[in-house]
Symmetry: D2
Subunit: 370 residues, 4 copies
């Protein structure tokens, strides 16, 4: 341990137990009290000490188990038929990393779920299947592979798969652990069990065109995006265009955030989402920041180094970066670009004044790996 | 005059001149003072009393004169070779309506203007010619018919026409009268006379894709849009999509505002701009609002009724709506949609708390015309 | 003329009249059009060219005339009995400077005016008399010498003087010329001629204590301060405290802005107001900025140099600083501080992106005077 | 259980274990995955299920133990000599309620602590002693009983007691559990161990007077209040004034939030603080809301009913209200008002869109108590 982080320094708590103190602590405990100095160094660490660890979930390993769930449980009994990804350090709160939850949901051909709403906000990233639909506060949306969609907190929602043939597997991202950490969870089943959607499919996609706001948009006052889905094709095309105009980020390549068109801000107040493009053969430099991120390989293959561990990914794989962990990304394809979808709690970090970022400066910006 | 607007009422100034008062007014004048009641009813009118009147400028009438300017003055001598449209009531301030200026600028094949910057903000709407380019703060943009582009206040800018054959005619919109009304005008010639543009053409168009914000966009802190051009095709396509999702405004049809992607707000703090689509045969209802508007027919033909006067327009025509004048729009084509581009001072109305709007309720929402 | 501001330079309009051009201009005029280059240099000046000039209005000169109005016109006939201060360069719009209006209003003992409301925003600064009251949107306020109060745009208001003995003279500041420049003026007489005030006098003063916001204040959504009056004593005390904590501004001494406690912003969207304290003998350095200011000497005596002209003031005197005019302030008392109240259109300058400021660097920051 | 909250309903997870499923869960566990339906009802509860319970800490019981700490540990060894108040349901994170920490800190005559800074934000409420001082980012403040002060996140701070005679006991409030829940904690010892304070004591108190913002305040861009202390006397006086102007809140009596004078918002982005006055004999009605609150009796005596439990308090006592717990307050003195200081995480609730509130409508707004 360096002097910098030495708990024996003046300025840190360094009181040893004595019989007298132990007796004193007992007295305090009787009054629902305690001595700060017995825990001070633990609860005020030098830098973040997440219990979350870096994890890679391979889609080819998870997929058979996800499909198995189709036979094992009825959708109506499960509520949602989801295999959740659980960080070994966060089993107590069912988090994939930090205060974020993620899982793979499967809907069989023709299935439809009942409608509910909850305080937790949700987002979807479609892995496979072409029949997926969702109804969010009465607006019916159809989404396909690579599409990103949101179910902002408090909105009624239900999903289904209108395909006759293939199941849909999409990834859910929710802030359930965040909501629970804040003792703010509510849940309601829709009084009619199902919503009556409006006639126009994908109406918010039709409404929020490129850099134009329609009549009435100024009245939108909810804290989330009125645009509820962001299809893959224009997203990918935008990144390709962006790659012609900019170098991008040294840490993330050509990266853009899905935004609320009414404010230019994040899609929801608790979670943001990005798509990033790594140029053929690109190796980004490492950085770290507060805030947790869940990545999904949307295109191509490569590897990321997280806290010194190398995680090799291909399309469909999911991995996480805990708060303050160094991370960098490598596209292993020398001819094709690779894309990573990700979602995070950066909006929370910024709202609460917690965001902090640092570049890895040694070794040309690349972490040594074991 | 109705009782409602009777200046003889208690609550209005109603002092008649007397010799004693006249002498008093002279005394006041010697001290650079005056009696409020002599002007109160004039300077605090019951409702807005713009000096601007509704005007239609026909493109087919103006075009020959605009082209004539090519031969009459050199671009270098004119600064900009522009035929400005001047409201009969606002000749003193060279305004087309209210505090807005507009004009038709022509650039001959191969011409290039010198660079300058000014406090006034400018916007462009291209009428004809395919060779137009503009460099705004080092960013080179190419614009064609129907495209909308901005030159925010204080940005260096220069323009030209790279065509070998045809001149470019575009419409300038500026807030020059607004800036002057506020005694806030500054002007500078570029020290090198010409800018050195960056290599990437249309870089802001490449950068601000559909509902995505790139890395670094959060740092944008200027009060105007970093996206500097809005081409016709995606704008028109967006309106067509919008028309499928919404009824639109009863007063404007399917209308959308060009927005700053970083904030969702107007493109500039002093001027906003819209494109609106009138369905085949659509006749909107009349309303009025504070704020002035300059319209340009971008597609199709129709007529608008402004303050009871009917103005028939076809593509390229320009007309204005003074503050608080009733207005409504009619698409005369029963098969094709029509489009009106417009720009306005609504951002000012909103910033200053001056915006007010009222629907015309008589006669099914349509004004009687002479 | 320096080269910098030479209208003969490349980059400025420099077209001389020819018979051919004169004929062309006539053709344009027939179409309600003109050639930009004939006016370009005038409407796009190198720097602001206000028509307003610096003026000092001496209270001891104005006061007798203001009092005379008591006898000459009935309050009910005058609407308001006000001697307005008119800038020689702005008589056409009844402005004291720029787009700001000011005047001295007198109310005799026991007088009460009828209620009205208008788009223009108003503010008051009390010169003399202890009986003044105002009712603003149902809230009755009592104000005395040195007090500052606001009547935000659109609020019903009426005034009076409950003293048995002495008249009240207060200074009105309004944005009437601004409202009219924007064609946004509305005016209404109260349907009942008089409001029914709430029981609690000065309720907003009781409500907005020091750096505390009461229950419900978060719901305040109007664009102006819910606190309607700022008495002299705590204002002066605050400046005295501030003088102990800070050097203040090199251009203004110890200066503070009256603020909307709910936002920390200016009291109204179109006008801001300040009180500033000049230490005994203090001579501030000169600067200039866009935006117009009307000053009132609230305490002490001194002089200000505006655009090279020296204006000596004592308590009650009023003077103006046009946009972009150099100005500096001198307290002539070596033992006592002096205070200047002022109001301005800075909120407009900032909203519209027009604010610009520059320090006078020659001669130790002091302008030469004739 | 009512039908409303029945986990057996369609729309909830209701899958029973089978051998097949158990085997499946094991397979999932090997991949760091799980079945959502096994935990869904727990992690998406019908309404908040805080582990925190209501607690009252009596000052007369805690005080002897707090004083005892003076002898038991040296300030330099303890870091800070604090008896923390620990909720029985939140011992794992050292929280008094929800994600808030509180404790009673004692500083002996003449003591001074070393300087540090951390991501966690802190606030102080002084219980006893007149010698307390704190230096926050170089600004020295003196605080006495009833004063509220803040140490915003990331600011260097150190404290001490300049009295020769009596110790200081103040209450610390921190968001340590919040910071840790978000994996965002940082801590630094000051490189020089002690700061060099500026010469002016209480400079921010002198700077932020009543509803005035000084020159330069517009440049303040940090997410917390530049005003660092709010003394008892003007706070209490403000509430007394407020009581004359308003009924106050039915749930809280006459209540006001300490605010950031530059924005009108909460003092810090993670914690807000209020002072409330209960009129003689006043019994407020019950309500509940998301967000946790820690109350300290600042004046008088009374009782509060929290989640049906009655807690009788007198000056100095501290109690907590967990998220979504019904609560109401009663002043037991029929002649004197009583005051409750409190701090909370409402700014977080609002930023994240989690704030929700509900009135207790039965029984005249009063909870039955055991």
């Amino acid at each position: 341990m360096t002097t910098e982080y030495d708990d024996g320094r003046l300025g840190r708590a360094r009181v040893s137990d004595t019989p007298e103190l132990t007796a004193y602590y007992d007295e305090l405990a009787e009054l629902e009290a305690g001595a700060l100095w017995t825990v001070a160094n633990d609860i005020e660490p030098w830098y973040p000490q997440p219990k979350s660890v870096p994890v890679l979930w391979r889609y080819r390993e998870l997929r058979p188990l996800v499909r198995k769930a189709l036979d094992l449980v009825k959708a109506d009994d499960a509520g949602r038929r989801v295999v959740m990804l659980v960080n070994p350090g966060r089993k107590d709160v069912s988090a994939a990393v930090g205060l974020l939850y993620t899982g793979l949901q499967i809907m069989g051909p023709g299935e439809a779920m009942t409608a509910h709403r909850h305080q937790a906000a949700a987002l979807r990233f479609v892995h496979e299947g072409t029949g997926a639909w969702t109804i969010v506060d009465g607006q019916k949306l159809k989404v396909g592979p690579g599409d990103f969609a949101i179910t902002p907190n408090g909105t009624w929602h239900e999903h289904g798969n209108e395909s006759d043939e293939a199941p849909v597997i999409w990834q859910d991202g929710l802030d359930i652990p965040l909501v629970n950490a804040h003792d703010a969870g509510f849940y309601e089943v829709h009084p009619d069990l199902y919503q009556q959607p409006g006639k126009v499919i994908n109406s918010s996609l039709l409404t929020y065109g490129a850099n134009l706001l329609p009549y009435g948009a100024q009245e939108w006052s909810r804290p989330y995006s009125p645009l509820l889905a962001y299809p893959w094709e224009p997203t990918y095309e935008s990144l390709r265009h962006l790659a012609r105009a900019t170098e991008g980020s040294p840490y993330d390549g050509v990266i853009a955030e899905y935004t609320n068109p009414v404010t230019g801000g994040s899609v929801m107040p608790t979670m943001g989402a990005h798509m990033q493009l790594l140029r053929p053969g690109q190796a980004t430099r490492a950085h770290r920041h507060t805030g947790s991120v869940i990545y999904t390989a949307a295109k191509g293959h490569g590897y990321s180094v997280v806290a010194g561990q190398r995680f090799t990914w291909q399309q469909g794989d999911i991995f996480c970066v805990p708060s303050w962990a160094w991370h960098e990304h490598h596209n292993l394809d020398q001819d094709e670009d690779a894309c990573l979808f990700s979602f995070n709690d950066f909006p929370v970090m910024r709202s609460l004044g917690f965001y902090r970022e640092e570049a890895y400066t040694d070794n040309g910006g690349h972490q040594p790996t074991a």
